[in-house]
């Protein structure tokens, strides 16, 4: 946007005489501010525009002069001197840009400026004095033009100085509020996790939150009477199908290992984000609704060292390039071997203090993982002697809590703006 300083000469012809034409009088609060910050640059093209401005209507109507060109040389010089004196005196009196513009029209206006008319009348002058007179008048014209320009420049400089000094802003006053929304911290964290795995070639797959118990449990080797079911307290759906309670809120995203393998052939490399549910009392670290991301890679030649490498890249991406990871032994019915992964505590850096996050061990448990159980590979119709795979599951809330130092998992789904707008 242009500031009025530069715009006003261009709109001369439309402007009523009483329009404030002093470009330095602040017409709005925006323009000086922009000008002050240096956003607006003066352009030569716009300066040229001054010279071609139409005269103001008042100037146009003011006179119809006649001239006598028969005076001797000295008289000519005296007259030109008088004109110069008068013109420059009038310019000194000209008030503001409007006054300067009226002065310009009066003296230099293209149709009936006084000097313009004198120059136009040159052709009627006697040939012997025409050259001298023409020279003097043209010199006068140049003088008036440059004086006008000098006046304008100095007025502009004065105005800028005043804008910078007298009209300086209190920049500590509040900005004009803009409406700003944010993604939920769980969404942000999920997106970062997805990005990290997508870089390693993982595709996203999604499965249902309300799930068959045969997918949630039986297909991932957790039969009905197995104590491993205690690892997942289940919220069941109160609907009987064929007389049996068969559907539930998935307790983990792992049933999608089965769903993916049922639908595709190797190579498989997917991540499955989504909500999961546990029939669980809540406290600072337990919530009954949670968000997970499941990973699965199955192909010829997928090794546990690849699992470690993949999770290492993930950990560094999410928690910093200098992270270290360790695996330790764990048990999940659907993987063999099964591990948990921990990252070195980036909060206390294992300084042995009473760290709330790692409890002084220097390691923070992040996720469970392992090599896909060969029975699951076989059940998918793949040959387990040829194809191997790994799987992992990450709790997104846990990752988010670590990233931002959130102390209580129950904040996430209370939808309190005072919490949400911090991320």
């Amino acid at each position: 946007m242009l500031s009025p300083i530069l715009v006003s000469p261009l709109v001369d012809s439309d402007r009523k005489p009483d329009t404030p034409s002093n470009p330095l009088e602040p017409q709005s609060r925006v323009a000086p501010c922009e000008h002050q910050t240096g956003k607006v640059k003066t352009s030569p093209a716009l300066h040229r525009a001054f010279a071609f401005g139409e005269p103001l209507p008042s100037a146009r109507l003011s006179r119809s002069p006649t001239y006598n060109f028969t005076q001797p040389m000295s008289t000519i010089e005296a007259e030109v001197d008088a004109l110069r004196t008068e013109a420059l005196e009038a310019l000194t009196q000209a008030d503001g840009e409007a006054g300067r513009e009226a002065w310009r029209a009066d003296w230099l206006g293209r149709k009936d400026g006084r000097l313009t008319l004198r120059l136009r009348a040159l052709k009627d002058a006697p040939p012997e004095s025409r050259a001298a007179l023409g020279k003097s008048l043209n010199e006068l014209k140049a003088t008036l033009e440059s004086e006008l320009e000098a006046r304008r420049e100095s007025a502009r400089a004065d105005a800028l100085a005043s804008l910078s000094a007298d009209a300086a802003l209190d920049v500590t006053l509040p900005g004009r509020p803009q409406s700003l929304g944010r993604l939920h911290p769980v969404t942000q964290t999920m997106n970062d996790c997805i990005d990290a795995f997508a870089e390693m070639g993982f595709r996203v797959f999604e499965g249902p939150e309300v799930e068959w118990s045969r997918y949630n449990f039986d297909a991932v080797r957790i039969p009905d009477d197995h104590p491993a079911r205690d690892m997942w307290d289940t919220i069941w759906i109160d609907t009987l199908i064929e007389g049996e309670r068969q559907i539930l809120l998935r307790t983990h995203t792992s049933p999608n290992q089965i769903r993916v393998m049922e639908q595709t052939e190797p190579p498989v490399r997917v991540i499955v984000p989504g909500k999961c549910y546990r029939q669980e009392a809540t406290d600072a670290t337990h919530e009954w609704m949670l968000t997970q991301i499941e990973g699965l890679a199955v192909d010829e030649g997928v090794r546990m060292s690849d699992l470690k490498g993949t999770l290492y890249a993930f950990a560094r991406r999410l928690f910093g390039e200098d992270r270290r990871i360790i695996f330790h032994h764990s048990y999940f019915p659907f993987v063999e071997p099964g591990v948990e992964m921990a990252i070195d505590c980036f909060l206390c850096r294992a300084d042995g203090s009473d760290c709330r996050t790692c409890h002084g061990t220097g390691w923070i448990e992040i996720l469970g993982a392992g090599m896909v159980h060969p029975e699951i590979i076989e059940n998918a119709g793949y040959d387990s002697s040829r194809y191997t795979g790994f799987a992992f599951g990450v709790g997104i809330e846990r990752v988010a809590m670590l990233r931002w130092g959130i102390e209580d998992i129950r904040h996430f789904y209370q939808n309190d703006l005072r919490f949400l707008r911090q991320f």
Partner: protein, 804 residues
């Protein structure tokens, strides 16, 4: 599980400090959740083991005694108030300056000696409370007899008790000996065996009792031994101390031995009073309909025919593998004990304990799966201990019903499989070392290992199970990090998810805060926003066991969640609020999983913020909501059409259906003030809903593109009078479809006016109309002609007249 280090050291040497030990165990065996150091504050100089030499009355106080104790440097006299102090005991003795828990205040403080009732005391004989072992302040602690006189107490009974969480498939880790085996393998130390020797009397156990398994599918093995001549009483201090540290309460010597052996081996045992076993017979069988048994905890249990009972000649005497019955319990008068060590089907135990809501230390072990051979091992160990601590005389032999011993599985592990799974090979010598340390048999054949897991490891059945044993003991720190190789799978197009995620970030960009709400809600909240005749939504799925009653129903609409969030935040927010959530409606279907219908729902309302961050006079209104929808759709590459249409819970006349092409894709509306009020919202609040399934169908794969015109467009502002009920969209539709001389006409509404100067029943709409041709600059004459044609058409179709 509580794992006292002192007990573990019976079987394996452990020299590591607790933190290092915990890390090694967590890396390879099971998760150490924490540990407690016993005796940390006991000064080795000031708190020591003493022997009580004599106890004499206090000359000036009836309730005090003078005990003479020996701490290794001659007799000392101590004033003592404990009722149980007796000559010959080993006790804990503190001298001046020792840090002890004050018996009254419960705080750690320094012992100061003073004369009590005129007699000087050389020190103090301590209770458990003063040592910080328990709250017991009634009597002094009696130490195990083998404690050396004068030894620092911390050396005698100091300990570290680890809290360990083990796995659902590893009953063997719930035995301290089993755990020690793993520690030995990890630290490369030898494993010691507990003493299992016992002497037989002449009579054979078979003369006392017969065992007939009537349900061999549920009871895989039942061993019974008989111990005569039992002297019931408390178990010795060392045994009690260990039970307490492992988290169990001492009861009597016989029960304590069964618990001790269970803690040691992982095999549950049960002692019956032999004289209460009717008919001298034991019959493991299914319960009969209507049978009942009062278990040891005094509760009468209703039994059903899926449950395995231990019965005598007349009826149930125990719920197999879970808890004994009160009718056959050992007591002070017990003389002969029948000791059951059996093996049950894990799933059956779990089902029964779930049904009875009765979890016991025994059932927790049985349900994980125990090798049947462990029964004999545990019998031997228990008989050894009963002989020692209860004066028992075991009858010869065991009664052993073991209908079908299972052969040990043989697993062939190709050496190449190790590297195939792990990415690294493990040397044959290391493979042998690890497996042998864990009790496996292993032989090497060409390129493979023939492996037989030990009886206590029924969880190991496949080659990959063996691979896990190898890598966890070998150490996961030896596993390198490598990068996945091979081809990438083909990308599947996921248009809906793309639109959904795009909409999600656009909504945030448009100033809406994303929220995530619980997806289970209450029927009451749903009923505020869902029409009772909405077949898809009025009968939501319910949770059988919700975490709380307000989270019973799977939401069939997100509207209630958003309005609740709006209302809750209004308590602390003054100005305009905008929220959105992306989620699914769970719409029930017949005999299948529900349809999870993806939607975006948003609410907005309140006073716009002023420059000074105060709510200004202007409120958000319908057109803020609509503008957000327009921007969203525009960025998705489509244009929405808005048709006045009522929606449930929305204010009539302020509600529109959004559509794109032929698809209805959502709603924008003011929430009905009555509905808003039901959420305690007392201001106008507006709602947006976008349905991703039809929206995705309506979005073209590529947006239309036309190069920018090289010719300028002419603009005319027109004020048109139309009947008041004519929607602006009707004018725009006519203009958009008007064709004239290759001139494209587009138009926007920039004002609506009713009132002075406009006839009643009419309104004035101000339109910015733009004319453009693709092949020429339009002349003034062209524009006037096209404009005239357009005005005639508007007048014909809609009765619109130019306002003058």
């Amino acid at each position: 599980m509580k794992l006292p280090l002192s007990w573990l050291r019976d079987y394996v040497d452990v020299e590591l400090p607790p933190a290092e030990f915990a890390k090694r165990v967590t890396d390879a065996i099971a998760e150490v959740e924490g540990w407690e150091v016993i005796g940390e504050q006991w000064d080795p100089e000031l708190v020591r083991v003493a022997e009580v030499l004599a106890v004499d009355p206090h000359p000036n106080a009836d309730r005090l005694v003078l005990a003479t104790v020996n701490v290794g440097d001659g007799p000392k006299t101590v004033v003592c108030g404990a009722p149980n102090v007796a000559a010959g005991q080993k006790v804990a003795f503190a001298t001046e300056g020792a840090m002890l828990i004050d018996g009254h205040s419960g705080k750690l403080s320094k012992l100061k000696l003073r004369a009590i009732r005129g007699v000087d005391s050389a020190g103090m004989v301590l209770s458990e409370k003063e040592l910080g072992l328990s709250d017991d302040h009634e009597g002094i602690i009696e130490l195990p007899g083998d404690c050396a006189i004068g030894a620092p107490l911390v050396e005698a009974i100091g300990d570290v008790v680890f809290d360990v969480s083990t796995w659902a498939n590893r009953a063997d880790l719930l035995g301290i000996h089993g755990f020690a085996r793993e520690v030995a393998a990890v630290t490369d130390q030898p494993l010691r065996e507990p003493d299992r020797s016992w002497s037989e009397s002449e009579r054979s156990a078979g003369d006392f009792v017969s065992v007939t398994i009537e349900a061999p599918d549920l009871c895989r093995r039942f061993t019974a031994s008989i111990i005569e001549g039992i002297e019931m009483g408390p178990s010795p201090p060392w045994m009690q101390q260990r039970l307490i540290r492992a988290g169990m309460r001492p009861i009597n010597n016989v029960v304590d031995v069964t618990n001790y052996v269970m803690l040691e081996t992982g095999q549950p045992l049960h002692a019956f009073d032999y004289d209460l076993v009717r008919g001298a017979e034991i019959r493991p069988r299914r319960a009969r309909p209507g049978e009942k048994l009062t278990t040891l905890d005094g509760i009468e249990r209703d039994l059903d025919p899926d449950m395995l009972m231990i019965c005598d000649g007349e009826g149930p005497v125990a719920v197999a593998g879970i808890m004994g019955g009160g009718n056959s319990e050992v007591s002070e008068s017990t003389k002969t004990v029948l000791l059951e060590v059996a093996n049950f089907h894990p799933g059956s135990i779990r089902r029964t304990s779930t049904q009875l809501r009765l979890r016991s230390e025994a059932s927790l072990r049985f349900e994980k799966g125990i090798g049947p051979d462990l029964a004999r091992y545990a019998q031997d160990r228990a008989l050894h201990l009963l002989e020692q601590v209860a004066g028992g005389r075991p009858a010869a032999g065991l009664v052993d019903a073991f209908p079908t011993p299972l052969p040990s599985p043989r697993i062939t592990l190709p050496a190449a499989r190790i590297e195939q799974v792990l990415g690294i090979p493990i040397e044959a010598s290391e493979v042998r070392r690890i497996l042998i340390a864990l009790g496996f048999d292993v032989t090497e054949t060409a390129g493979a290992f023939e492996v037989t897991p030990p009886f206590w490891r029924p969880d190991v059945a496949l080659p990959d199970d063996v691979v896990e044993e190898l890598i966890r003991i070998h150490g996961y720190e030896n596993l390198p990090t490598t990068v996945l190789r091979g081809a990438l799978p083909e990308a599947q197009p996921r248009p809906l998810e793309r639109v959904r995620e795009h909409a999600r970030s656009l909504a945030a960009g448009l100033g809406f805060q994303e929220v995530v709400s619980y997806t289970l809600t209450s029927g009451e909240i749903l009923s505020r926003v869902v029409a009772s005749d909405d077949a898809d939504r009025a009968a939501p799925l319910a949770a059988t066991n919700p975490v709380a009653s307000q989270h019973t129903y799977l939401r069939t609409s997100l509207r209630g969640s958003l309005l609740s969030a709006y209302a809750a935040n209004r308590h602390h927010e003054d100005a305009a609020m905008r929220f959105f959530e992306v989620g699914v409606e769970y719409l029930p279907t017949e005999a299948d999983l529900p349809h999870e219908r993806p939607v975006l729902c948003a609410v907005l309302g309140g006073q716009r913020l002023e420059r000074w961050e105060r709510p200004g006079p202007e409120r958000l209104d319908f057109f803020d909501a609509k503008g957000a929808v327009e921007s969203l759709l525009s960025d998705l590459g489509v244009e929405g059409a808005f048709a006045a249409e009522g929606h449930h819970a929305m204010l009539p006349g302020h509600s529109a259906t959004v559509s794109v092409g032929d698809e209805a894709v959502g709603v924008v509306a003011q929430v009905h003030p009555d509905v808003a009020a039901s959420f305690d919202i007392e201001e106008p609040v507006f709602l947006i809903e976008l349905w991703f399934e039809p929206l995705t169908r309506a979005i073209p794969e590529r947006p239309d593109y036309a190069p920018p015109s090289r010719y300028p467009e002419a603009r005319r502002d027109l004020a048109l009078l139309v009947p008041a009920d004519t929607p602006a969209s009707a004018l725009l539709d006519v203009i958009r479809t008007h064709r004239a001389r290759g001139v494209r006409i587009t138009a926007d509404v920039f004002d609506e006016y009713r009132g002075e100067g406009v006839p009643a029943g009419q309104k004035s709409l101000a339109l910015a109309v733009r004319f453009r041709a693709d092949d020429r600059t339009l002349s003034e004459k062209d524009v006037v002609r096209v404009e005239q044609g357009l005005l005639r058409r508007l007048e014909q179709d809609l009765g619109a007249t130019l306002r003058v």
